[in-house]
């Protein structure tokens, strides 16, 4: 990424302008040619700097009021194979392996599960528990009770 790419990231990280020609509008703001902005955004999309371009729904506004971070203490030897199966479940929105922080935190698999209420999240967590079987030693679900900040990534131009 060069300086111009970074300017484009800084200009679009909060969102695209809602006009019929959003990339032209960004080009105008940055003093670039529209073709260059389009070419560079396509380039960043190809190289994975951009994960995707589209809408990000707010789970709460869609009625998915229970947001559970399910966490699992999974046998390290089986974590890759079983984690991939958990990630493939259609109700899991994020799935990661992370280091434990003992003694307070014994869990290494994190799977985000959303539902209309906690019963629904717990029902889904039972499906994960069945999938993991005895490879999982202990588990918990941490519900979010408040959003304290939500701005997303911000980089300087």
């Amino acid at each position: 990424m060069d300086e111009i790419d970074r300017k484009i990231v800084a200009a679009t990280q909060a969102g695209l302008p809602l006009v019929t020609q959003p990339y032209h509008k960004i080009a105008e703001e940055l003093g670039l040619e529209p073709d260059e902005v389009i070419r560079r955004i396509k380039g960043m999309d190809d190289t994975g700097v951009i994960r995707r371009i589209g809408v990000v729904p707010n789970h709460y506004k869609l009625g998915l009021n229970a947001n559970g971070m399910s966490v699992w203490d999974l046998d390290d030897a089986r974590a890759q194979v079983l984690g991939a199966k958990v990630g493939a479940l259609d109700f899991v929105s994020h799935c990661y392996l992370r280091p434990r922080s003992l003694p307070v935190w014994p869990y290494n698999l994190f799977a985000m599960v959303h539902g209309e209420n906690r019963d629904e999240v717990e029902e889904k967590a039972r499906i994960i528990a069945d999938l993991l079987g005895p490879a999982c030693r202990t588990q918990d679900i941490l519900y979010s009770t408040r959003i304290l900040k939500k701005t997303g990534l911000r980089i300087a131009a």
Partner: protein, 148 residues
Amino acid sequence: MLDTTDRKIINGLQGGFPVCDRPFAEAAESLGLEECDLVARISRLRETGVLSRFGPMYNADAMGGAFCLCAMAVPLGRFDDVVEQVNAHEEVAHNYERVHALNVWFVLGTDDPDRIDAVIGEIEAETGLEVHAFPKEHEFFIGLKVDA
């Protein structure tokens, strides 16, 4: 309330928004809508908060940066003050209160990976509390699947 068209937009446009001269026209065609209608509906869904964002989702890793999930056990008597100290760091991309002994969970996002440890050190010094860092060791493929 969301109507069928809103739901079609939310389900159909979580990725793959075109990069071209008239992207809304192209996206509208695949959804069976008019260009101006799609612009108006996405604007309204943004304003009403149904969409928290519309545009490119950047990957800090691929920009040479990093994300790190962090958690703290914050005493309830100091909760608001500590959250203010944490959130004051621009690297804190989002922050959630959760029900657990570790009750504050935030994500640091930065384009300079060295900043992650530096910000964690700053927060620990400012608050006198331990920050538990949970950097991702592996991300499992998910795809796009929030159904409106």
